[in-house]
């Protein structure tokens, strides 16, 4: 299925305060799609999780927020797509990283699994040479 990109925003993430811009942009985009306040907050939380991971593990990277649309049986539906990319050391064991309560840093170890839970589609790729890419999508009604 082909997704059409309606709007895209690139945000460089290299220090903790950059997270603010990521969060507010994600919230605004979710609001534009018509997600209610609770969903906006959840999406912003998932996006923030990914941005925080970049700062914590790779120190810098980029977050791309896209407003996308696709055809469905009930007509066009819109969604938000977040891509978080870095050139960090990569995740040595993705299966483990997707488990609850697993963390190599001093954290709760709930981040990636919860992003997967909140979003509808989730894709992760990681290697020591190329860093980590996470793409997650959440479709509206």
């Amino acid at each position: 299925m082909i997704n059409r990109v309606i709007e895209e925003i690139f945000i460089d993430v290299c220090e903790p305060s950059d997270n603010a811009q990521v969060i507010y942009t994600a919230r605004q985009m979710a609001a534009d799609i018509g997600f209610d306040e609770t969903q906006q907050f959840l999406i912003a939380t998932a996006v923030s999780e990914l941005a925080t991971n970049i700062i914590r593990y790779a120190s810098k990277g980029i977050v791309i927020l896209r407003l996308v649309s696709k055809m469905s049986n009930t007509g066009d539906i819109q969604g938000i797509e977040v891509t978080a990319k870095d050139n960090g050391a990569g995740i040595s064991d993705i299966d483990k990283a997707m488990q609850e309560h697993f963390s190599t840093g001093n954290s709760l170890g709930l981040g990636l699994p919860s992003v997967k839970r909140i979003m509808d589609e989730f894709f992760i790729q990681s290697s020591p040479e190329k860093g980590t890419v996470v793409i997650a999508k959440r479709w509206g009604q």
Partner: protein, 273 residues
């Protein structure tokens, strides 16, 4: 040839080639063209004065030896991309060093084609965005300062302190909140601290982790910590994230938290008779 093409052709012919060259030379932004090996074949006046060299000096030099930018000789180089036929015509940011000074630029590259549509090189125009970048850095610094000063601890009642948290919590700010709270506990011999998170933009696991740590630290100092302002959205986020707030007292509103605090300290609010 259809009608539209004919009109276009006519317009094109009306512009004198010489005039076009003059315009290109004098346009007040750097314009450069290179051949397929990235050797400079054209640089207009603005470009020459931008790098402080004559065209004769740089003609035939590799562009990366002149600009030495952050993109030069990396896969990021848009010039190389367009020469290889990739679509990279979007303006991108870059930085170059001229005489030990960092200049921030934005450049847009396009393939240079001959009459038969073969790509024979690339061209680009450059905008100096140093002022813009400086402004952005200033703004970033300011937003950091705002964040720093937006962590007030308010003594609400005898031995009750409230700490409203607004905006985005990062680890630096969480540390500040922790410091402010712990200082307040000793200063006012507080017994109850209310952390109101109604205005927080997102509660991800890092933020939750900070909140848990703050609550634990206050407990160690013999003080109760109540987290208030748990909106339906925050509650759902915490459940979705699978975070266990454990023994931390939470309330949906600051008002409820305050009445809990009163109960803990055995205060009673009575209407005047």
């Amino acid at each position: 040839m259809n009608e539209k093409d004919r009109i276009n052709n006519q317009i094109n012919n009306q512009i004198d080639d010489n005039l076009a060259l003059q315009i290109l030379r004098q346009i007040p932004t750097p314009v450069m063209a290179v051949d397929r090996d990235l050797k400079i074949i054209f640089m207009n006046q603005a470009g020459c004065s931008f790098i402080g060299k004559n065209f004769e000096e740089i003609k035939g030099s590799y562009c990366y030896s002149i600009f030495n930018s952050a993109h030069c000789q990396t896969p990021e180089c848009r010039m190389k991309k367009v020469i290889e036929g990739e679509d990279a015509s979007k303006a991108v940011r870059n930085e170059i060093r001229i005489n030990d000074r960092t200049v921030y630029i934005e450049y847009t590259a396009a393939p240079l084609k001959d009459d038969n549509d073969n790509i024979i090189g690339g061209l680009e125009y450059i905008l100096d965005i140093t002022d813009r970048v400086r402004q952005e850095q200033k703004l970033k610094e300011q937003s950091r300062i705002i964040m720093e000063i937006s962590t007030p601890a308010i003594k609400l009642w005898d031995r009750i302190v409230v700490l409203p948290v607004v905006g985005v919590i990062d680890s630096m700010r969480a540390q500040q909140m922790m410091d402010t709270m712990l200082k307040q506990i000793t200063k006012n011999s507080s017994k109850v601290i209310i952390l109101d998170i109604q205005g927080v933009a997102a509660v991800d696991t890092a933020v939750a982790n900070h909140l848990i740590k703050i609550a634990k630290a206050t407990k160690l100092m013999g003080c109760r910590c109540i987290i208030s302002g748990i909106s339906p959205a925050v509650a759902q986020a915490i459940v979705q994230l699978g975070i266990d707030l454990g023994e931390i007292n939470t309330n949906s509103t600051l008002e409820d938290a305050l009445s809990d605090a009163f109960a803990l300290l055995k205060f009673e609010v009575v209407r005047k008779k």
